[in-house]
Symmetry: C2
């Protein structure tokens, strides 16, 4: 019989235990930051109705990157981001929750994308949002950037420092209005500014769309800075002062790694105010590792109640798995998850040995027994070596009779006979 | 425009934040037990190749409970349990991992089952396994029952005590051999014993299959106990002494809630030794909330290396979500995740207030600001009430000028003006 394949499908992630431990540690750190900032965890389904995931009427014709399927008469699919489920949930529970509502998701999402570095077909994304009914103070914009900044900071030991670049849609709206751009011109300008760094001659391309004079004005934002447009008109002044206030708030919260970069647009049409993207100083090749912004309509497809908010998403698998696969994270601390291997010299020592094992675990000492008690000491200590245990607890006839253990420190090689209490203290480093 | 549905698909789980906190706390407690027992977390893909999930050649005809779909030429589906992914992973990584290999999964699985209480189409299951290459000492059987028992014990506060019932396939094999049953009779007897409690007249039905004399012998196991068959032949004696040793080991590990029940069979054909099921004393209506056993062939479809093991699965959603939805868990401790609401009396106090917010969070105090600073005190304190915060930190002009805060204990109503350090100490209960 042919054997089945042992590799996962292309684009799906498989980590070794040591990598998984790092992944989990980082996930825990971020979630701790989010909980300390009062965000509720939402564990939403990965499968949604097709009509929830898409606006297309003709489901059969959808040739997107979604995983769609049918069971009985029900068309459904795997979620491709956290927003659609959040919108459905908040619309359905708007009377059960307190606004401003702060929620996060740490969830797998699915996109049948073409395979490329850092893109996975199944990936964890962390979504965090603060939502208001009808309105939400602009002050929350700085808070969410601060929270996400602290989330990255909690991983600094592994991924190095992060910086955040912030753009402001309202500033551009005021600029475009001042320039007298029509809607199509504004749209074209938005798209070009978003692609600015990828264009050889931004000014020239922009001139083609909005005229050379307007192009020159807009280019001044990048050459002279957005603050050079102060005292032009009320709308621009308001946008500039809101941005100043935003930066001051972040400063008051101790967030220093902030750069205003009017080139940050975020593609999504639904952003209406602040937009931001996070980058890693030591890993610029990863590009933006997270981002978000302010939006004015989360859930109008699900509810007549207007839900507005500010939110962010962190590409957690994109970040972590890429760095892990490229060996860019020092995994030393994750190599030794086992504190004690319990080695048992003969079946007669087993019951005493497993009672010692229980006592170790009751003290939150990670302990693994080698229960093939007939194996020679050599084989057992080899096992202890291979699992990188910090200590080996060796139990034979003498230890059973004296109610002791032989404790071997696996890094120094020192071995001593100890009472159970003394063993526990030694392992705990007390 | 018609609004889209806000309810999840039938059979899919949606929890409120307070329920989710309980769910997450229980998941964390169990995973801590598993890590302390040296189990590695495996985060395997939810999507596998169809050929990995199923043995059927004709994929189109599969009318099982699986979610199957196709992208391009690739047929794939959502995993329905943890075993198939584990088998694939271990076969693929057998040279990267150390045997005996202990691994757990805490993962979503998918089954398009008919809807009934406690059955979900997307559900979390915890799988734990200890695997050996070619062989694995029988001593690990008691250890895995002890670990799972401790996992349930870690939830005792929420779900009450659990007991485990243990059967032994090897005992029955020896019994059937002694009775001279042929393979079909043995198979029939296995199935009837498995269904024993659901049959009106077990003895009569069993007689029909294997004769009245054999039926009487087998019934003695349930009336006189399995130990009454000691000294009949070597195979039975070995099985009985192995079972005695198993119980003694568990006792040495402090696991007392164990009952040998030869009626426990577990349907799966692949179990070959110990089989066990866990039940909740306070929730017998849930039936078995977890179980497992010893198996001799995990991965022969993926590898020519023989992988044997002992494993267990815990129906985590089945357990937790059913109890949560039936209001069977006291959620009081999960009602107050917020330690401090920061209320801000006017925009002028904002930057000082958010600096206080940061200091709170730096001390791991869960803090939520109310950032619509123009709202009246009444509105702000209402918000603090609604989110069940333990304290409110109120900041206005005086507090800004004096670098203090007004701290209101929300349960006593007491309010006092404090320095920031004193506020932190009070909230932390120091």
């Amino acid at each position: 019989m042919d054997l089945k394949p042992t590799k996962p499908l292309s684009g799906f992630i498989e980590l070794l235990p040591v990598q998984q431990r790092c992944f989990d540690e980082c996930a825990n750190r971020i979630q701790k930051v989010l909980k300390t900032a009062g965000f509720s965890h939402l564990g939403l389904p990965a499968i949604e109705r097709a009509e929830v995931l898409t606006d297309k009427d003709n489901w059969d014709e959808i040739t997107t990157q979604m995983y769609l399927f049918q069971k009985g008469d029900t068309k459904m699919g795997l979620r491709y981001d956290g927003t659609v489920g959040l919108a459905r949930y908040v619309a359905g529970h708007k009377n059960d929750i307190v606004f401003p509502f702060r929620a996060y998701q740490f969830a797998r999402n699915y996109r049948a994308e073409r395979r490329q570095r850092g893109r996975f077909r199944e990936f964890y994304q962390i979504d965090l949002d603060i939502l208001g009914q009808n309105d939400l103070s602009i002050n929350y914009d700085a808070e969410i950037v601060a929270v996400l900044s602290n989330a990255y900071k909690s991983l600094e030991k592994y991924i190095g420092p992060a910086t955040v670049k912030v753009g402001y849609r309202k500033f551009w709206n005021a600029m475009f209005e001042m320039c007298g751009l029509n809607p199509e011109q504004s749209r074209a300008a938005f798209i070009l500014i978003d692609k600015k760094d990828k264009l050889d001659d931004f000014a020239a391309v922009l001139s083609d769309e909005i005229g050379v004079e307007n192009s020159n004005v807009i280019n001044q934002v990048f050459t002279n800075g957005y603050k050079s447009f102060v005292n032009q008109n009320d709308k621009l002044d308001l946008a500039i002062s809101e941005l100043d206030d935003f930066v001051e708030s972040l400063d008051a919260m101790g967030i220093k790694n902030v750069e205003i970069d009017m080139g940050i647009m975020r593609g999504h049409a639904y952003y209406t105010g602040i937009v931001f993207e996070f980058f890693l100083e030591q890993h610029p090749d990863l590009g933006a590792v997270g981002g978000g912004g302010r939006y004015d309509d989360l859930a109008s497809k699900f509810s007549n109640t207007k839900i507005v908010g500010v939110g962010a998403a962190m590409g957690f698998s994109r970040l972590m798995v890429t760095l892990l696969q490229d060996d860019k994270i020092d995994l030393a601390e994750f190599e030794t998850p086992i504190d004690a291997a319990v080695l048992i010299m003969g079946e007669g020592a087993k019951n005493y040995a497993v009672s010692v094992l229980s006592k170790l675990r009751n003290e939150n000492i990670a302990a693994v027994p080698y229960l093939d008690t007939n194996k020679k000491f050599k084989n057992q200590i080899e096992f202890a070596d291979k699992i990188n245990t910090k200590f080996s607890v060796i139990i034979g006839e003498d230890e059973v009779n004296n109610k002791t253990v032989s404790l071997k420190n696996m890094s120094t090689g020192n071995q001593e006979t100890l009472s159970i209490d003394a063993m526990i203290k030694t392992i705990l480093g007390k």
